[in-house]
Amino acid sequence: MAMNHPPVPETAPRARRGFVRSRTLAALAAGALSATSIAVGVASASTHLPSSGRRAPRVAHAGGFLACEVTDTGGINDESFNESAYNALKAAKKVDPSISYTYLSSTSTSDYVPYINDFVNKHCGIIVTVGYDMADATAAAAKKYPGQKFTIVDYEYTPTIKNVLALHYDTNQDAFLGGYLAAAMSKTGKVGTFGGQDIPTVTIYMDGFVAGVRYYDKINHAHVVALGWTPAAKRNYASGSFAGTGLFTNNFTDQGLGKTDAETLMAEGADVIFPVAGAVGLGAAAAVKQAGPGHYMEWVDTDGCISAKQYCSLFITSVTKGIVPSVETAVLAAAHGTFHGGNYIGTLANNGVSISPYHTFASKVPAAVTKELAKIKAGIIAGKISVDPNSYPAS
């Protein structure tokens, strides 16, 4: 390669050295130009700041309302709650075009505080934060800036904070329906679930799923077994502790782990798999597809036939969490002056959680099962059917 030639010898033609000099000069001139450009930028950026009055009202986007999201360390494309919250901002803009939105993706827990501060200084109409990881940072900022509206996904404050709307979801209710449906569709008498991590937002799904399977067994005198999650017999269910033991990938991104776990469950006889692990579920889908006919799945969080289209033919249904509608509602409320802080709980009753349409399984799910699911849904809403797995005997 050219790099191997020796240093330019002194006998080299003068033209060559002249070239050297002119290139260098050009570089220096360009450098000066870019320095000037930066200086101009600094000056022009400065003019955006108020010149008088400490709390001079500033409108970030002329005449508009700005919704701002700080993601947790999963990032904006996590195929999970960060992305759903962002989709909610987009949805809000569709409803009210005067709304604009932006986001910052945290790469470490240290980013939460400065990023929230950046958005407070930007005068965002509402700041959306995501997950229990950001709960302390959000509460501290809410206390420091009482006039700033916040909403946080997947968390619940006790006591509530008046300028924070905390959104959380009783996903064991729709997972109960998912568990019942899985048990009804299983030919082998075994269904399986696994989680991304042993944390409440994950295990609440697994808990409801297992409860649904047990309920199926009870009313149909069947013996379908749920693998992958064993709820603890003694626990404080009311306090939101979904204690138990189960199968976890301890990772929300490595699809290979999802594939391994799904293969393990199928090797033990399960023919319906319910992964609760975000993008890791895609690995499970690959395994289920490989296993061939007679092996199905249920997707989690969002409608899989939309978010993971390529595997739609495998999904009996999806056990969804209404992050998009609830965040969208919070943003629109803040934009239209009807925002109230506190806690919001998504349930089957308020459609904050639900199971999605069957899509390709519309003709395969027996009508009797669909009818029974509607009855169960009404029973859960009325409080007549418990979603606690310990209410039913295990097969």
């Binding site: 260098t24 400065s46 010149s51 360390t73 932006t102 990881d133 944390i199």
Partner: protein
């Protein structure tokens, strides 16, 4: 291919390029001019930064809708297209600067009214906060590199340090004057233990430290994940994977008042840089580190204990990474979760490379990287240009620094006579 790069410097023939002075030496201006066109450390670094800014500017031009729109109408308003391009690039780089160093207008406002100092100095404070762990972990990696040991495990070591510091933080109850130093020492010890493992494995069995340290990153991350959901680390009353918080007596004091997050962590980082500089240049042990880094066989022949040095360098490197984990925990975060530490352990490798394994270089490189990160977020908020631009700039800088011959060819620089670029990095198979 790189033989000529790392070989001995060429003979001083080029000195005759300029008219010899009265005593046979070229005049001062000529020497300066010559230094400016040769590929020495300073020139290559400045040109690397410059190249990165140019590439960033091209990306901004090519991806910003308003700029593209202006160029689509270049026929009717050519001046406007250039104006929009210049203004957008200027706004973006300006926002990085005002977001990471200081905003002149906010400063002016604070000076004229006597209020709003926090807002004016917050950007530089945030840069110092972000730089502190990078400096510490970067020093550790750099010390390893210059001794011929590739510590890719800074991420795991900083997690180990943070776990140890957190434990000392919540399990011990003491007044701050005793508690805080104990927490810091605990963090360093945690990192040192994590560094000792690959060190002793390499010294005893010859296990390659690159493999072992990379794998240990996963071990410590999984250990953290486990601890976060088990007692006594998990926050009481929480079933989420989140740790207890640091008590007030285990938190690093703020440097400039409670509203700015800049804390003692940055001072610790600077002190560590001084200590490493002294250690590497002035101490006997540091001398043997350098000798073994330059030529292991020569060191062994001179009676140096290569095994002992291998273990020690990884222990010290790990302790520095452990400190990096501690200053973030005790300075700003106060709790651990699975997202703790982000990419610091890997950015540390980049920073060590950028700083050419020298303490001052690591400090300056870390400040630059921290400023680009902090300013990048402000830029995204202010202008809508994604923060990824900062990553592109960082990556391009490192790319240019790591391949000095590329910069030399690109700008037609002479090869440096003395003090040329030599990365103290020997082959991976050494």
């Amino acid at each position: 291919m790189t033989r000529t790069e790392t070989g001995p410097p060429p003979a001083v023939a080029p000195a005759t390029a300029v008219e010899p002075g009265p005593r046979g030496e070229p005049p001062a201006w000529a020497r300066l001019a010559r230094r400016l066109v040769e590929a020495n450390v300073a020139v290559v670094t400045v040109l690397a930064l410059f190249t990165a800014l140019v590439i960033g500017a091209i990306l901004i031009t090519a991806t910003t809708p308003s700029v593209l729109h202006a160029w689509s109408q270049v026929g009717s308003a050519p001046g406007h297209a250039f104006y929009v391009t210049g203004a957008t690039i200027g706004d973006a780089y300006g926002a990085i600067f005002t977001g990471s160093v200081i905003s002149p207008s906010a400063l002016g406002h604070a000076i004229s009214t006597g209020r709003g100092w926090t807002g004016a100095f917050n950007p530089i404070s945030e840069t110092l906060v972000k730089a502190a762990p990078l400096i510490l972990a970067g020093l550790g990696v750099a010390l390893g590199f210059s001794t011929g040991v590739f510590n890719i495990g800074a991420q795991g070591q900083l997690i180990a340090g943070a776990i140890a510091a957190l434990y000392v933080g919540f399990a011990v109850h003491l007044p701050i004057g005793i508690h805080l130093p104990l927490v810091v020492l605990g963090g360093a010890a945690g990192g040192a233990v994590a560094g000792f493992i690959p060190g002793i494995l390499k010294a005893r069995t010859g296990a390659h430290e690159v493999i072992v340290t990379i794998m240990l990153n996963y071990v410590f991350l999984d250990l953290l994940t486990y601890l976060l959901t088990s007692r006594p680390f998990q926050q009481p009353g929480q079933s989420n994977a989140i740790s207890r918080t640091m008590p007030a007596t285990a938190r690093l004091p703020h440097l400039f008042g409670s509203t700015l997050r800049a804390n003692l962590g940055f001072v610790i980082a600077l002190a560590a840089a001084l200590a490493v500089a002294w250690f590497a240049r002035r101490s006997t042990l540091g001398f043997s580190f350098r000798v073994i880094g330059a030529n292991q066989r020569a060191g062994r022949t001179a009676g140096m204990d290569v095994r002992r040095v291998t273990v020690l360098v990884l222990v010290i490197s790990g302790a520095l990474a452990g400190l990096a984990g501690t200053v973030t925990l005790s300075g700003t975060d106060f709790f651990l979760s699975t997202g703790y530490g982000g990419n610091i352990g890997f950015d540390a490798i980049t920073v060590a490379l950028l700083g050419r394994n020298r303490p001052l270089g690591v400090v300056l490189g870390s400040l630059l990287f921290a400023a680009l990160d902090v300013g990048g977020a402000s830029m995204q908020v202010a202008t809508g240009i994604p923060i990824d631009l900062s990553s592109v700039i960082q990556a391009t800088i490192v790319f240019c620094i790591a391949t000095p011959m590329l910069v030399r060819e690109l700008y037609r620089l002479r090869e440096a006579g003395g003090g040329s670029i030599q990365l103290f990095m020997k082959g991976w198979s050494s």
